[in-house]
């Protein structure tokens, strides 16, 4: 495999891993506060639709992004209401959100645009354009580093850079700030936080809201960054892969980056069966590569590679009075 091919695969990896990374960090915030979130997929899908629809109608991708985030946050609010305020089952609420998003997006799209559950194609300012980083063109011919900078680092949409910046930001918020300490404590021992006079309910709602924002960005990236419009079910299971990545990373921000990059790389590699065949000299079924993220997650869960311990209070609603 030569450098150009490798760069192409890595470039593809970055694009495919970005929605996974954003959704994974979204799940990280929610689950670290003790709220399991199966509904990442549904939130991404709703965000993809509303960002595509509003961008198509207004011609502004930024309004689209806001609409996508708003739609995702509404679903987050429903999830919070069901699982925090009404102490419902978090898994059932999450599954319900996935169904709700899958059905509603198509119905609204059909009633709104009459294009078989699609939004019109986005053109011009209604899409996130790739950003060429400074000096990318001039440095292009520098051996090795030039192409790496030009192809891998430059030429992505702004949401990609935002997603990567979210990793240190998440690390700082969760592990270095006071809010993060409380958020993690709420996920491990909510009664202790409550005794200290911090609102468990409020902290959990804040975590779920952050989750909504990040899922909204992830969904908007699918419809307005990678593609030019919404197509029904376009999230295509990425929310579930992000969940797998979350477990794979054992609920830690930097590991989440590694896990999503690995899963993104596997997806990118699955697009190039010819590379694998020349490298390994045996044809590998594409289906195996598609299934690898899940297989790896099961391996991690089974405890072969260290232990994956979820937040202790995860999945259980907090009841103040005993």
């Amino acid at each position: 495999m030569d450098l150009a091919t490798l760069l192409q695969v890595l470039d593809s990896t970055v694009r495919l891993a970005t929605p996974l990374l954003l959704a994974c960090l979204a799940g990280l915030f929610s689950e670290r506060s003790g709220i399991f979130d199966i509904g990442l997929e549904g939130k991404m899908l709703a965000a993809a639709f509303f960002s595509g629809a509003i961008a198509a109608v207004t011609g502004s991708v930024w309004l689209g992004l806001l609409a996508g985030i708003a739609a995702s946050m509404v679903l987050s609010g429903i999830h919070g209401l069901a699982s925090i305020t009404f102490r419902g089952n978090q898994l059932i609420s999450g599954v319900a959100i996935n169904f709700l998003a899958a059905g509603l997006t198509v119905v609204i799209a059909q009633a709104w645009f009459q294009q078989g559950g699609r939004t019109p194609s986005l053109i011009g300012g209604a899409r996130f354009a790739p950003i060429t980083q400074p000096f990318a063109e001039t440095l292009k011919n520098v051996p090795v580093l030039g192409p790496v900078y030009y192809q891998l680092f430059s030429g992505h949409s702004i949401l990609v850079y935002l997603a990567f910046l979210m990793v240190p930001a998440t690390w700082w918020v969760l592990l270095r700030s006071r809010f993060g300490l409380r958020l993690r404590a709420v996920g491990e021992a909510p009664e202790a936080v409550d005794t200290a006079g911090v609102s468990v309910i409020g902290t959990r709602y804040a975590a779920v809201a952050i989750c909504g924002v990040l899922c909204g960005v992830a969904g908007s990236y699918l419809a307005t960054g990678l593609q030019a419009g919404f197509v029904k079910d376009m999230s295509a299971g990425r929310g579930y892969i992000a969940l797998a990545a979350l477990i794979f990373s054992k609920w830690r921000p930097w590991h989440a980056l590694g896990a999503t990059m690995l899963f993104g790389f596997l997806q990118a590699l699955a697009l190039r069966p010819d590379i694998i065949e020349t490298a390994l000299r045996v044809p590998i079924p594409v289906q195996l590569l598609d299934a690898l993220p899940y297989i790896l997650t099961v391996v991690i869960l089974a405890g072969f590679v260290g232990r994956a311990t979820p937040p202790r209070a995860g999945g259980s609603p907090y009841v103040k009075e005993r």
């Binding site: 699609r118 194609s121 997806q267």
Partner: protein
């Protein structure tokens, strides 16, 4: 007496109306809806053309849910509509149950074979149409490498791929065809992001014309091709307009012709399997104002010649579904 006369008159008028309703054909659109820019819209166009040409009217319904399939079929059959045309393979199992209950009504189903004495099953020779766009792709390619991106990995899509490769090799025996399938589950029909990435991967391998037979995923392929300034080929309905000047052509399935013909034959609809191929303009390649500049005279001559030799039986395009293999890679 006057009362009796007017009563008779009304009765006669009612009978006439009923007679008119009896003759009316009906069309059922699948869940995509009649303005889906693809399959159903083509059926709608065919029906409208028939109504305009003949001055007759027809009944139609757009399904809103899976549960309405049988209901709609029975409702139309009871109301005396004849023939009843439905679009899409999803009606197959429902029609199998409904058709025997209404032996005097003729049904036509598109893209599916239902074995009943009062059903016409319309199937298309997609491999022949794909062969023609394969010739165009090979001639339009400057790198000598072209791509194919399928949706879900099923025999029908392999039929598209196999016809396409045969066409490419016929025009340029040295040409290379990169083939990818999006996936092996129905999600593969609606993953434009993966479609776009597949297109970019094929472009990096040198492909400069990519044929997408992948439903909603194809939207992503056409988009990525337009973004990277290479040519793409649409499928099913004419998709040339989606990126003017950047979609080489579209492999069209003339669903409109199938509907028109069924309506035209009315209650005397010929039943059995009806194959729509190149000979009866069932499949073809689309040329319109959006791609007229992309198709050169030389390409036009070559593709028309190929079309003639397929129709005359001189060239036989191998159908993947006949034996599950493809003679070329």
């Amino acid at each position: 007496m006057t009362f009796f006369n007017s009563f008779l008159g009304t009765a006669a008028a009612t009978a006439l109306c009923a007679g008119a309703a009896m003759a009316d054909p009906a069309l059922i659109f699948d869940l995509g809806g009649k303005f889906d820019k693809s399959f159903n819209e083509a059926a709608h166009k065919g029906a409208e053309r028939w109504a305009e040409d003949t001055g007759n009217s027809y009944n139609e319904i757009e399904l809103q849910s899976e549960a309405q399939r049988e209901q709609a079929l029975r409702r139309f059959a009871k109301a005396g509509n004849n023939p009843i045309v439905m679009t899409g393979f999803a009606f197959g199992s429902v029609l199998e149950e409904v058709a025997p209950d209404y032996p005097d009504t003729k049904f036509a189903i598109i893209d599916m074979v239902v074995d009943a004495p009062n059903v016409r099953s319309v199937v298309f020779n997609e491999h022949q149409g794909s062969y023609l766009v394969g010739i165009l792709a090979a001639m339009a390619s400057e790198t000598g490498t072209v791509g194919f991106i399928g949706g879900m990995d099923i025999p029908l899509i392999r039929k598209f791929a196999c016809g396409y490769v045969q066409g490419v090799k016929a025009a340029d025996p040295d040409a290379e065809v990169i083939q990818n399938m999006t996936g092996s589950t129905p999600a593969a029909w609606n993953d434009p992001v993966k479609g776009g990435e597949l297109a970019k991967a094929q472009i990096s391998q040198g492909a400069d014309v990519i044929y997408a037979a992948a439903g909603g995923t194809g939207v992503g392929v056409l988009q990525a091709a337009a973004d990277e300034n290479i040519l793409s080929i649409g499928v099913d309905s004419n998709q040339n307009y989606m990126h003017p000047g950047e979609v080489l052509t579209s492999m069209v399935k003339r669903v409109d012709n199938a509907v028109y013909e069924a309506f035209d034959q009315g209650a005397d609809l010929e039943t059995g399997i009806k194959v729509m191929g190149l000979a009866n303009d069932g499949v073809g390649y689309a040329v319109d104002r959006f791609n007229a500049d992309l198709i050169t005279e030389e390409m036009k001559t070559a593709v028309e010649k190929a079309k003639e030799s397929i129709v005359s039986g001189e060239v036989i395009v191998h159908d993947y579904m006949s034996d599950g293999t493809c003679p070329v890679e």
